[in-house]
């Protein structure tokens, strides 16, 4: 399946989610299991994809310090500021700095 079809399938599925309850909810309400899964799906999926992306960086590069250090700086920055944007604002400069001082 090409990336085009995957994007199309994700788009079609997302659209069905958007209109699903316009048809169903009026009669049957939202299934409880869907409600519970929806509550947890975002943090769980983000944890998996972020970890996978970071692991890919570690295997693709001889320099493990820079990506791990940048991720650590990003976590600290977000926790201290409460702003999700701080992860990029702090993490990317940290990555560049660490890559410069600890080249692979």
């Amino acid at each position: 399946m090409t990336p085009w079809l995957v994007v199309l399938a994700v788009g079609a599925g997302s659209y069905l989610f958007r209109i699903s309850m316009l048809v169903v909810a009026a009669r049957r309400g939202v299934p409880l299991l869907a409600e519970r899964i929806a509550r947890h799906a975002v943090p769980v999926s983000f944890a998996v994809i972020a970890t996978g992306g970071l692991a890919d960086q570690l295997t693709a590069s001889t320099d493990a310090v820079a990506p791990i250090g940048a991720a650590a700086f990003a976590v600290v920055a977000v926790r201290r500021t409460g702003s999700p944007h701080a992860a990029l604002v702090v993490g990317m400069p940290a990555l560049w700095l660490l890559s410069a001082v600890a080249p692979g």
Binding site: S14, I19, I37, A38, S45, Q57
Partner: protein
């Protein structure tokens, strides 16, 4: 145009009033636009850097129209994950749209199919927030519909424009910038504030450990297993209704 066929919207308001409600919706969306525009740029840059056709990455904008699922789709396609994994992961993230749909259903009850098709397409976190607020403020459902439409169109144009700018600029940026780390860092930024309760922390930790442990699984099915594992931990450890303080 949909407005002309929608019972609640049809010709009840004069053109000037309609325009005023549309603009009110667009203005209510303005603060959100400041936040989502950089997110769109990041997605565009990621699409340009990923090992997929840049236009396919951009196409996630109009087709998926939900940033988190777009990020997941682009990142997992770039990783070489199997189509099933990409689709399952992105739809798991977008499952919340079912709840949004249920939230808006009472407001759109009795409107035409064409209006529901358009309004449903525009439904995502910012339009839900602005839309619900607009319906609560509106003196007539027609006004709420128009505000929702104004907000949704403002978001749609800004979102697709930001992704296009990012995709155009991203292709010409040097590899020394390590832009492949943009998405992992972005996701860290979105993840950390969501780890406020114990259930979320346990589930995210279990999912992250499983993601590492299943790295070698063919077709990147490990990502799907990790998501399912994390969800299982969340469902098993979340407080029951009677344990939640009233």
């Amino acid at each position: 145009m949909t407005l002309a066929t929608t019972p609640a919207i049809a010709l009840e308001a004069p053109p000037d009033a309609r325009r005023a409600h549309l603009m009110a919706g667009a203005r209510a969306m303005a603060p959100w636009l400041l936040g989502v525009a950089p997110f769109g740029l990041v997605i565009g840059i990621s699409a340009a850097q990923a090992d997929i056709p840049t236009f396919a990455g951009w196409l996630t904008g109009p087709l998926v129209f939900a940033g988190s699922a777009q990020v997941a789709t682009i990142q997992l396609l770039d990783d070489g994950a199997s189509p099933l994994v990409v689709i399952a992961a992105a739809l798991a993230i977008n499952l919340r749209l079912v709840l949004y749909s249920a939230t808006m259903a009472p407001h759109w009850h009795g409107t035409s199919r064409r209006w529901q098709a358009l309004a449903g397409y525009l439904l995502v976190d910012p339009t839900l927030a602005v839309g619900v607020d607009g319906y609560e403020r509106a003196q007539h459902p027609t006004h709420g519909h128009l505000r929702y439409l104004g907000a949704g169109v403002a978001l749609w144009v800004t979102w697709l424009g930001a992704i296009a700018v990012g995709a155009t600029a991203g292709a010409s940026l040097p590899s020394g910038l390590h832009l492949e780390m943009v998405i992992p860092l972005f996701l860290i930024g979105e993840l950390v504030p969501r780890l406020g309760d114990r259930t979320a922390r346990r589930a995210a930790l279990a999912a992250a450990v499983l993601a590492i442990a299943t790295q070698g699984v063919p077709l990147h099915l490990g990502a799907l297993l990790a998501i399912l594992g994390g969800l299982a931990v969340a469902l098993a450890t979340e407080p029951r209704a009677q344990e939640v303080p009233a």
